[in-house]
Structure formats: C-alpha cells, structure tokens
C-alpha cells in the first residue's frame, strides 16, 4: 500500500476498497446521525505525525483540532471527543504527558469536552512513538444544509486564510531544516469562524471542507467531481505567507498541494457570499479570509487557476510527491 500522501492515491483506496463495505452515501469530513429530533455530526480521525512537536503545535493539539474541524465542516457545534492512544513502549513519560496536556488545552480552547478514551502500549517499533485516534460528535445547526449536489454555477469559493503553513512546517521540522525562520503550523479550531458564518449566511452555505492532506487542490478537485462542476480560482486572491511561498519555490512544490490544519473552504451562493466573508473576517484570525474563485458549468469537472499573467493553469490533485518534469 502506497497511499499515504493524500490526494488521488488515497481517494482510490477509500473509494475502491473501503466504501463498498460501508454504509456511506457522500464522502464528507463528518457523517450525520439522526437521534430522534436531533441531528448529530459524527467523525473519527487518526493522527500520525513525525516529529510529534513542531513550531506552532504538536500531535496532541492536532488530534483535537482535526476532529473538531471535521465536525465543524459538517456545520455542527463540537460537543465531545473520545480518544485512543497507541504508545510505543519506551516513549518517555514527559513526552506523553506533554501531549496529554496539549490535548487538554486544545480542547479547552475549542470548548469541547474529552469524555473518554483508551490506551494501548505496543512493543518497540510496532508503532512510531505515539499514534492518537480521536472520535467526536457535534450538534448540527438546523439552519444548514450541506451537500455537494447543491453547488451550482456562480457560487463563490471562500478561503479562511493563508495556505500551506502546516505542511511546510512539518516538512522543515522533520529535516531540522532552518531555511525560513517564521513558519509555524496553523493548527486551530475553525468552529468560531464557521459559527459566525452560519449565523450570517446559512441559507447560502452549501459545502465546506478543511483542506488537510493533499491541500486545497485535492479538496476542490473532489468538490468539482462530486458536484459535477468546474472551478475557476483567481491565483492572486489566494493568500500564501511569503516564507511559505519562498519555501515552496525552492522545493518545487505548489502551495495548493500543501496540508493545512486551521483553514477551511466554504462554498456560498453569490447572494450570501459578501455576508459570509464579512462574518469570517470579523472573528480574530479571520482577517485574511477571501473570495478566491467561483463555480462554473463544464462537462470537465476540473479546477483551474487564473493569474493576471501566466494564463490559466489546470490544478490537479496531488499524486504523491510531485516528480520533476521540466525538460
């Protein structure tokens, strides 16, 4: 199995091998469960990251925010999380303790309770230091109706802030690479933004995704495919920190393929787009949100990106580590 990097390969794995055995209608960050009168968003995610600690965050913090964000992407207020830790024998107690603390703090910040969990210790080298799985539930806001099938021509794509911080931070941390001083992971809960967004624009809100592995390019390609539409992005509207852009240039990477842990993409009808944007921008940390593109009709379900000069590029899903191709 070589499906780790997100994007096309993992999509193929999920759809080809897993979905046929599961009761899944639409592949989203969170699933919905109806409990009497209440609609609940339900999700689980596993976290493996090397190194465990990196500028701006750690695996414990990711494990909380990742699940909180998946719930938020279902238009739901995160309520409770349970967790499983798989610990490699020999891991120092201080390291473990630091991660538990990080989980606790992230949960407090995100206003969600960790209500239970399980711990397994496995033999040395049967795991890499620490794996964390979290599962969570949230209360779906009755005003939202999210589905790729509602996405139509003219809808606007809103991005919550600069992209690529997390993925580049991890890449540098892994190699102990001190190329660019000021990059740190963007890990955070996005629920405060989503909550305000729902208040301001619920009827126009159609689809959300947090662009983690595979980056924005993969999330939007999945949208284009699921909604049977095409997407035109305005390259200049997509914010990238100069340090991240510099790192991408020297590494031959496209920021659109880099993972994020504290950003989300929302598709909002044209009518509600400005209200939605303002609502996000008014939450501290959301100032750089922007409308980055628009949905159009085409029999090719693709993602394009237009720049003022440089023309229009086709943005493909990430296939793994991009190979050199310039002759």
């Amino acid at each position: 199995l070589a499906h780790g990097a997100g994007g096309k390969a993992s999509r193929r794995l999920i759809e080809g091998l897993l979905v046929p055995y599961l009761n899944v209608k639409e592949l989203n960050d969170a699933a919905y469960v109806q409990a009497d009168q209440t609609k609940i968003a339900f999700t689980a995610d596993s976290f493996v990251v090397n190194p465990l600690r990196f500028p701006g965050g750690s695996i414990g913090e990711l494990a909380i925010n990742g699940t909180v964000n998946d719930i938020a992407m279902g238009g739901a207020k995160p309520l409770a999380i349970v967790t499983t830790l798989i610990i490699e024998a020999g891991l120092e107690t201080e390291i473990l303790e630091a991660e538990i603390k990080a989980m606790h703090e992230a949960a407090e910040k995100a206003n969600v309770a960790i209500v239970g969990g399980d711990t397994k210790v496995v033999e040395h080298q049967k795991a890499d230091k620490l794996f964390i799985t979290t599962a969570g539930i949230g209360l779906v806001d009755p005003r939202v109706n999210l589905s790729a099938s509602r996405v139509k021509k003219g809808d606007k794509i809103i991005l919550s802030g600069p992209i690529g911080d997390h993925g580049i931070t991890i890449l540098f941390a892994r190699g102990d690479l001190d190329l660019e001083a000021d990059i740190k992971s963007d890990t955070r809960s996005v629920w405060p933004f989503v909550s305000k967004l729902i208040n301001a624009a619920a009827p126009g809100l159609k689809w959300m995704r947090d662009p983690t592995r595979g980056g924005m390019a993969t999330a939007l390609n999945e949208l284009a495919r699921d909604a049977q539409v095409a997407i035109m992005l305005e390259e200049e509207a997509i914010k990238v920190h100069p340090e991240v852009r510099g790192a991408c240039e020297i590494l031959g990477l496209d920021p659109m393929h880099i993972a994020n842990e504290g950003q989300f993409i929302a598709v909002v009808s044209e009518e509600y787009a400005q209200d939605a944007l303002k609502a996000i921008q008014q939450v501290p940390g959301g100032e750089q949100a922007a409308i980055i593109g628009e949905v159009f009709e085409s029999d090719r379900h693709i993602v394009l990106s237009r720049s003022s000069y440089g023309g229009t590029r086709a943005i493909d899903m990430l296939v793994g580590d991009p190979l050199p191709r310039i002759c």
């Binding site: 890449l171 892994r174 190699g175 102990d176 690479l177 001190d178 190329l179 240039e249 020297i250 590494l251 031959g252 990477l253 693709i302 394009l304 000069y309 440089g310 023309g311 229009t312 590029r313 086709a314 296939v319 580590d321 991009p322 190979l323 050199p324 191709r325 310039i326 002759c327």
Partner: protein
C-alpha cells in the same frame, strides 16, 4: 524531404506557405484587381492548415466557405487556363473578406488604415495584428521603451522576441547570413530563423545575452503591405499569448489583450480555424533544425512506418506534438505547447480528435503510445483513450528513434547520445545525459550516462541555476564554497540536499549547463526554458579555446567531478568567465567524442546520433564535428526532425512501429 501535396495518396492537412512571387507582383500592380488586397493568394501559396475544417482542401471545408465568389473570381476558379484555376480560397476586394483597424471603437479601412498603422508603429505603439495562423503583437523593434512595455505586460522579462524585417537586405544589416540561411529565410515555409546578430543595439532590446536574433521576412500580403505603407523596417512580431498559452486566433478573444495593452487591433475578416505558431529554427552542423516545428511543417512526412494498425502517439508535455501513422504514412502535428496550461490542453485534445477524424482512424483499432512519465498530462490523457493497445515509451529512446525514422534506418545499430533537461527513466529516476547502443528494431540499451547529480527541489532546480549547481558540487570541500561566495539559493539548496528533502538523483546535462552558468556568474532565475544555457553559449562565444578540462568517460559514466574541480580552480585564479565557458563547451564536446569513438569501435558501427535540446547549442555541435574530423564516424541528422521534445511523438511512433508484433 516533404512531399508536394499533389502527389499525396491520402487526404491530409496541407502546410501553410508564404505568398508566392506571382501574387506578390500582382499585389503591387495598380492594374491588378487585387492591387493592395491583403487576402491575395493562388493555388501555389497561402494558408491551408490554419483554415482547414476538413479534408480534402476544398473551399467548403475551409473558413472561406461562407464567402461567395463574385462572377470574375468564379471565372478564374473554373477556367483551366487561369492560374487561379481551383484556387480554393479565391477572392478579391469585391467579394472577399478584408482588413480593418479597430481603434478606440472606430473602424478604419483601406489605404488610410495602412497609413494609420505605420503611424502608430512609428510612434512606438503596440498593435495586435491578425496573420494567417493567429494574432501577433507588433511594435517597433528598435524602440526599447515599446519593447519593455511588452515585456512587462506579458511577464516576459528577458526572453527573446522574434522580429520581422522588411526584406533580405534589411536582414543582412542586422545578422550574418550564410547562403543556406538566406535560402531558408526566403523559403516557402518562411520560418523564424535564429541567426548570428551583428547589431548590438537591437540584440540588447529584443534578445539580451543571446548570440542570435530570431527573424523572419513577410509571408503574407498583409505583412508586405505594412512595410509598403511605412512601418518601421524592423518590427517585433511575437505571437499574441501569455507565456505557455495558445496564441489567440479568434476575434472574440481579443478584448483581454487589447485592454491590457490599451492598443488597437488590425483585424482580418477571414476566420482562422486553428492557431498555428511560427516555426523557429536554427542552422547548425546538425542541419536546419526546428526548435519549434509549426507553421509550414504541417505536412505528411516523406517516410513510411510499417504497421498493420494505426498508431497514435502523444509526445511529451512541455513541447508536445502528436503523430499519427495510418497505412504506413506518417503525419506529425504542429507544436502544441505547454500542457500545464488549460488552453493548451484543450488545443491538444482538439488536435487529437481532428487527426483521428480527418484521417478516418478508428480509435478502437489504434495502438496508443505515450511517454513513460506517469505525471505528464499527455500520459494520463493517452491512458484514457480507448485504443486497442497502450504502450509507454522511454523519453530518450524516443529522441533517438525520431532521427532514425526519418533517415530510414530503423534496423541500423548506432551509438546514441541524448542530452536534455529531464525525462523519466526506466529505473524511475530523472534521466537527461544518456548514452545508448542499439537500433530502433532491436531496442536501445542504456550503456552509460552522466554521473548522477542531485536535482534539489525537483523542478525548482530547473528554475534556479544556483540550485542546480548545488546539486553538482554539493559534496565538494566546504571551504571551497566560502571562497566561491555563491549567493542564495545556493546555500539553501545545500541544506535541502543535506537533509535529503525533495532531492532526486538525476543525470541531466541540461542541469549541468545551468550549473556551469551559475558558477560563471548567471545568478538569475531561468525566466524561460534554456535561458542560462543560452547565456553560457553567448559568454563562451566571446573567447577562443584556451583551456580544456578533464571530463573522463569511465565506460559507464561521464564523471563531471574533475571538470568542476578544474573550472573552479581556474575561476579562483581569476580566469575570465568567458574562457572557462569556452573551455567547458570544448570539454563536453571532447567527452561526447570519446564516448562515440570508443562505443562505435566496441559495437562495430560507424553511425552516431545526437538528440535532445542541449544539441541546439551550435558551439557544442561544431566542436563535436571538428573533433570528429577525419574519423569514419558519421553523425546522422535531418532538417525535418527537432532535437527538442517536439520530436518525441515521432520517435514514439517509430518505436511502436518497429517493435510491436501481433
């Protein structure tokens, strides 16, 4: 090499050719009914491919279908005695399309139009002009300010612009022309010729850091009329597109550029069916080789490739062409461009569709060939085609096979040297300095290669020559770096290499060129493909051979380490960069010759083949020929075959034809 279309046995596209002498005479004859009429033409001249919607070439299959001939034109068309008998595009000012200048919402026509155009150009304005195969952006080539505006607006800081000159006499004033070059400049195909500049002022404006200037002479009635009415004798004539995008050829695509440039447009009423760029070629010892094989070259090749089924091949990704083989006949498309651009992808897909439909090829019977690179757009596209068989072909083997196909030497055993930027290798690594032995029929064996270097940051190494350099000398002694004082991204790249992040092994000679250019002072980014290599050739051309460096062939690899060590020592002794650059070219040529001589002897052949973009370098090629003088080894080459990736689809087709047995 080309077959005149009259003798063709299958219906196919016809090449676009320049206005003929008879038509040109009539154009300026006040007695002629087509006096000063831009759309003058005859059965012997004019556009074809760019206007064809279908085959055969008959009026109803072209964009002229909707224009009805007046009685006088019809008379010419039907009279076997008239030289316009069956001139499919026949028309005159009475019945045909015409040109108008669209300026600030106003339409200006007739002679006034031409005078206004000349006025605008002389005043330093930029203009959009519709030619046979698409729009061009035009301005006075000696007007540095006008050209700079064009550079800024197109995001093209340093890449050379082609110019159009009034006539041969004007050409001779700015470039050196051999007899062969004169002939090519005036040939019916009328390409852009890269010729050695003798005008520094002009070079510094249109082609900085470049030995050559790319120029062409008028090939349409309209272009002759521009000069006739007083346009500057030297005008920039560059295809109207943003870098990598297809050239604009429909009038309704004009608004964006007109707004960006705040300029007027000279619009022709005759529609263009598909954009066809100008061909760019250069004469070296390897022939009159097209860099970009396009206008004038859309013809059936004069070769046969045996195959019981049709073959469709889709080439590479940045300079793609497609090739179709049907009934052993071979049609190769024009240059399609950079497949990362969406517009180019559409153009490519349309070309595939056109070629299949127009030649009546059934996809389900067809063998599909594509590059081994899994991430090329063309590869992924080819894999979705419902052909009867899909075959991936290694990039550099396709390079070699293209030349052997046109030389009709599919079974000949040769020593093949392919030097280019990058191609996907059979071991999954990035190749680009490859040495093969074998034939198209029996297959090529990789016998050796440039010693592996590091491609740091993947494609980023192709953008930043300093980064390429770190990939070659990164393992050298650290205090050497301190003495060399190389700026960023060199030290950054060293760190990335050290941590082995996004660092690929490569044998690319393209990157070797970049690395040497960086060592000798080229610290910019490559703002266009080959910029550093072209600058290095320019630098080298200013010196004689004073130093030659050690660049040994071990029998398995060309070891660049002593080469760099000696060049660095020379640089630290303050030797002039120009002498070192010249020495590098000679050393590489010597290495190539050493390989050829030893392998030709070992494998008992007298034939060698050179391909890959690196061999566009005329200094390198002439050094190789000089060093081989007196030997019985023959280097095979041909005017029809590009050395760059425009050749890949043809090479793929040759390999499929020779190796697929049912």
């Amino acid at each position: 090499m080309t077959t005149p279309y009259r003798t063709m046995t299958i219906f196919t596209f016809l090449p676009d050719t320049a206005i003929c002498d008879d038509c040109l005479k009539e154009l300026f004859d006040p007695e002629s009914k087509r006096y000063l009429y831009p759309y003058i033409g005859c059965p012997n001249c004019g556009p074809r491919y760019a206007l064809m919607k279908n085959v055969p070439f008959e009026r109803q299959n072209t964009t002229m279908a909707d224009w009805e001939m007046c009685p006088s034109c019809k008379e010419e068309y039907e009279n076997p005695q008239n030289r316009r008998y069956h001139a499919e595009l026949n028309c005159c000012p009475q019945c045909g399309p015409n040109y108008y200048l669209f300026e600030n919402g106003q339409r200006v026509e007739g002679e006034e139009m031409f005078r206004r155009v000349a006025e605008l150009l002389n005043a330093g304005e930029t203009l959009l002009v519709k030619n046979n195969g698409g729009y061009h952006l035009v301005c006075d080539a000696f007007n540095g300010k006008a050209v700079q505006v064009m550079r800024n607006k197109l995001g093209r800081p340093r890449k050379a612009f082609a110019i159009m000159v009034k006539d041969l006499e004007a050409a001779k004033e700015i470039v050196h022309l051999s007899e062969k070059e004169e002939e090519i400049l005036l040939s019916k195909r009328r390409p852009i010729l890269l010729a050695k500049s003798k005008n520094e002022e002009l070079s510094s404006i249109v082609a900085p850091n470049n030995t050559d200037i790319g120029l062409m002479v008028p090939y349409t009635g309209l272009q002759h009329l521009l000069f006739h009415f007083g346009a500057p004798r030297y005008i920039v004539m560059t295809s109207a597109n943003y870098p990598g995008e297809p050239t604009i050829h429909k009038d309704d695509q004009l608004t964006g550029l007109m707004e960006d440039f705040q300029c007027a447009a000279l619009i022709g009423e005759r529609e263009i069916e598909r954009s066809v760029d100008d061909t760019v070629l250069k004469v070296t010892k390897l022939g009159a080789v097209p860099f970009r094989r396009s206008r004038g070259y859309n013809n059936l090749l004069d070769i046969a490739l045996p195959s019981s089924r049709p073959i469709l091949t889709v080439g590479a990704d940045l300079k793609s062409t497609i090739t179709l083989v049907k009934d052993q006949k071979v049609v190769m498309s024009h240059h399609l461009g950079d497949m990362t651009k969406y517009g180019t992808q559409l153009k490519f897909e349309r070309t595939v569709k056109d070629y299949l439909a127009i030649h009546g090829v059934d996809l389900s019977e067809t063998i599909i060939g594509y590059d081994l690179h899994p991430e090329y757009f063309t590869t992924k596209f080819a894999q979705t085609l419902e052909g009867c068989q899909h075959v991936a072909v290694q990039h550099h083997k396709a390079h070699l096979a293209s030349i052997l196909a046109v030389k009709n030497k599919l079974s000949e055993r040769v020593v093949g040297i392919v030097f280019d930027g990058a191609g996907f290798g059979e071991d999954g690594e990035i190749w680009g300095g490859e040495i093969f032995v074998g034939s198209v029929q029996e297959g090529f064996t990789r016998h050796g290669h440039l010693r592996k270097a590091s491609l740091i940051g993947g494609d980023a190494a192709a953008t930043y020559p300093l980064q390429a350099l770190a990939g070659f000398i990164g393992d050298f002694d650290k205090d050497l770096f301190e003495r060399l004082q190389l700026p960023d991204p060199f030290p950054k790249a060293l760190k990335i290499k050290e941590k082995n992040i996004r660092t690929f092994p490569t044998t690319s000679v393209g990157r070797l060129y970049d690395a040497v250019a960086a060592l000798l002072g080229f610290h910019l980014d490559n703002s266009f493909e080959g910029e550093a290599a072209i600058a290095l050739e320019y630098l080298a051309s200013q010196s004689k051979v004073e130093e030659v460096y050690t660049f040994p062939w071990t029998g398995e690899e060309l070891d660049y380490r002593p080469l760099f060590e000696e060049m660095i020592q020379s640089k630290l002794k303050d030797q002039s960069p120009s002498v070192i650059a010249r020495g590098f070219h000679r050393s590489l040529a010597q290495a190539v010759v050493d390989v050829i001589q030893s392998l030709c002897e070992e494998y008992d052949t007298n034939y060698a083949v050179l391909s890959g973009g690196v061999f566009h370098n005329s200094l390198l090629v002439s050094d190789i020929f000089d060093l081989l003088e007196g030997s019985k080894i023959e280097i095979l080459y041909d005017d029809e075959v590009p050395l760059g990736d425009n050749c890949i689809s043809l090479g793929q087709a040759a390999i499929l034809s020779a190796t697929i047995i049912e």
